[in-house]
Amino acid sequence: MQRSRIFVLAMAVILLLSLGLAPALAQDCEGEVIELEFMNWWGAHREALMDTLIGHFEAENPCIRVINQVQPWDNRAELLATAAASSNPPGIIMSTRPETYQFALSGLIIPIDAYVEAEGTDISVFYDGEIGLQYWNGELYGLPMPTAGLISPLYFYNKNMLRDAGFDPESPPTTWQEMEEVARALTVADAMGVEVLGTNLGSNGDAFVFWLYTNNGKYSSDDGRTLLFNSAEGVETLEWMVNFTNEINGGIENMTDFFQDTNFSQGDHPFFDDALAILHINSAAFGHLNNVAPDLYWDTDSWGVMIRPYNGENPDAKHTGVTGYNFVGAWAYTIPAAHPPEKQAAAYKFAEFIGVHELGGCAFLFAQSRPSPVKACNENPDYYEINPYWDKVKEALAVDAPVQITPVQGQLAEILTNSVEEAFFGVKSAEDALNDAHAEMQALLDEFWAEFDANNM
């Protein structure tokens, strides 16, 4: 009896509170509430985190209601293209750098320089390399979050496997040659393919560019008009990748098979089964590892983090990461041109909150143990409490180098990937593959710039 009274009383209090709070929240906005559809690809596993961010934003901006539209990764290209090109696009869109450039070139999104000035947003809080990637043709189109950096410069390694093979787990490979030695010692293959893998270098255009920079090579000139990847360093890099993959890993097909149907973010990956010693992966992996294997995450005797090895035989080579090259990384929040100014202004407020606010991207990324494109956020000492390798993260951020690209990057990257694959499958030599790719890509790039220059004369 007593219990039922308490229960009824509690229900009544909850009801009164909810009735009382709802109007109170609604009353905070004295004008019209603007609804902002937020099209993003943060995934269902981060939806609650993003909802928290949105909650903080709405508390500060009661007249803006953000609708968190988490999109499925499948069919992403067509979802994004049709949404952006429609007459009623989302209020704000999460897009990658090549997409941002394509939309900017097409006039689908607006530059935000005027808002930055009007709102007094201090964009110097970002790393230069991060905010710099969001400019196209001298205009700023989005504020970055997460980092474009830390896509390539880190690797995770299995200390137990190194220890068992007689290597010092506290001194993981820092050069190509040391990594080769570890991989040769650890890789086990049979007729069905690889059973235990030292490491996979990757076999597409992205992987080639990542390794190219660790051999003191460059993808393109600083103005983005000339492609430079078929240099002597480029040929040496691709030859090394092909030879490594063929001699140590048994060929590119072994690598495709080894990683088929695996997913690191879901914990279904050879790294968790002591079947992969060195994994080249981006900084999102910290959050995934903590999420799917928290015990392992805190067991720093079992795994470690190191900076991507460089070519120890090239005196000019050093640890280098690549930012903004292609699809992954360099995300920003862009504002469609199709909306009225008040909605665009609301979208900018949200983009600014995501970008620079402490409770925005800063807190969102902190919760995932990954770095922010805002310098001050990464100085938070609490990062050391949630990321056992925070020093390495900061070290890796310092070695990232931006790459200049254009709106036709998607097509260029596809051509490069095809040629790199031809080298891996032995259809062409590394040199011929790169030269052929260069000729085709440079022609496409020249065509783009010719049209661009003609339209902007």
Binding site: F103, L105, A191, G193, E253, F425
Partner: protein
């Protein structure tokens, strides 16, 4: 007074008669009313997009084009046939896929239909079991198939190793990608099987009885009765299979992604169209590629229909001619 009432009644009767006559003359309207929903759907969702697509194929329509896209005449078509390396590659891959998958699926579906046409106890259950894979959504079927094709753990390779054969790198070798896609295409044989089964059940029993009396074996019955009488059904399934095969997309997209697998050995035509539209945002060019595909399918269909007179046996038509 009576005269006016009679006149009114006469008028009403005449009006009713006229209405009945009009209705009788135009009784086809009820048929049109029934087909109207389909017809409206066809106009709105097929014909209009087709015409608009045809128009776009002559323009440089790109994402974000505001207003009328610039007219560039046949430039897109010229580029397809002169500059586009992936046009030839994707067309070859598609034709290879068609060349194997269509006949194999026809043979497979027809063979299963023949078995399921036997008079065996519990046949309804067997028919259901064989049809079940066809009602599995394509996405789910493809994901399941990807598991089957796994080099190390997949069912197919485990089976090959069991019988002493070498494992195949189904999804990682450029040579095996197209056979993998062809294998996957067999999964959806159920629809064709049902059509074949319906056709088989329409063959008069007395023809088989007559053949049996004349000493015809099972093979004789198959080759001299079943196959000739099934040619209209085979023709229909062949036509639909070809049209479907040219447009193969979803399973390839799921199985090997937009790149088309190693060395783009699985880059089928529709994947190329997809990439042009949604990766490169060249919608005008993608529209032109679609028109080219339409023309190829159209010409092939016309050719098939034209040549069908020589090998498709329509019983009634033969009777009329005699």
């Amino acid at each position: 007074m009576h005269a006016s009432i009679d006149a009114k009644r006469d008028n009403e009767t005449a009006w009713k008669v006229r209405l009945q006559e009009w209705w009788f003359r135009n009784r086809a309207l009820i048929g049109y009313a029934f087909i109207f929903p389909w017809f409206a759907g066809f106009i709105i969702f097929d014909a209009m997009p087709f015409i608009y697509n045809l128009y776009l194929s002559f323009t440089d329509y790109q994402i974000g084009t505001v207003g009328t896209p610039p007219w560039i005449g046949i430039e897109n078509y010229t580029e397809i046939f002169t500059d586009d390396k992936l046009f030839g590659k994707s067309m070859f891959n598609t034709l290879y896929y068609l060349g194997y998958s269509v006949p194999l699926r026809l043979i497979f579906a027809f063979s299963i239909a023949l078995i399921l046409n036997l008079r065996v106890r519990g046949m309804e259950l067997y028919r259901t079991l064989f049809y079940v894979p066809s009602v599995v959504p394509l996405v789910a079927a493809t994901v399941i198939f990807a598991g089957f094709l796994n080099t190390r753990y997949g069912f197919l390779n485990q089976f090959l190793v069991l019988i002493g054969a070498a494992p195949v790198r189904w999804l990682s070798s450029p040579d095996a990608i197209k056979p993998s896609l062809i294998l996957l295409s067999l999964w959806g044989f159920g629809a064709q099987m049902i059509i074949f089964l319906a056709g088989l059940q329409g063959i008069p029993e007395d023809l088989y009885e007559a053949a049996a009396i004349d000493g015809g074996t099972g093979w004789h019955r198959l080759f001299y009765i079943t196959l000739p009488l099934m040619t209209p059904t085979i023709f229909f399934n062949l036509l639909i299979g070809l049209i479907d095969g040219f447009q193969v997309f979803e399973q390839v997209f799921i199985l090997i992604g937009t790149h088309g697998g190693p060395l783009q050995a699985g880059l089928v035509y529709m994947l190329h169209v997809y990439n042009k539209a949604f990766r490169d945002f060249e919608f005008g060019y993608a529209a032109a590629l679609s028109v080219v595909l339409f023309l190829i399918i159209f010409v092939l269909t016309v050719m098939l229909v034209y040549t069908s007179n020589r090998w498709v046996f329509y019983g009634d038509a033969q009777d009329d001619e005699t």
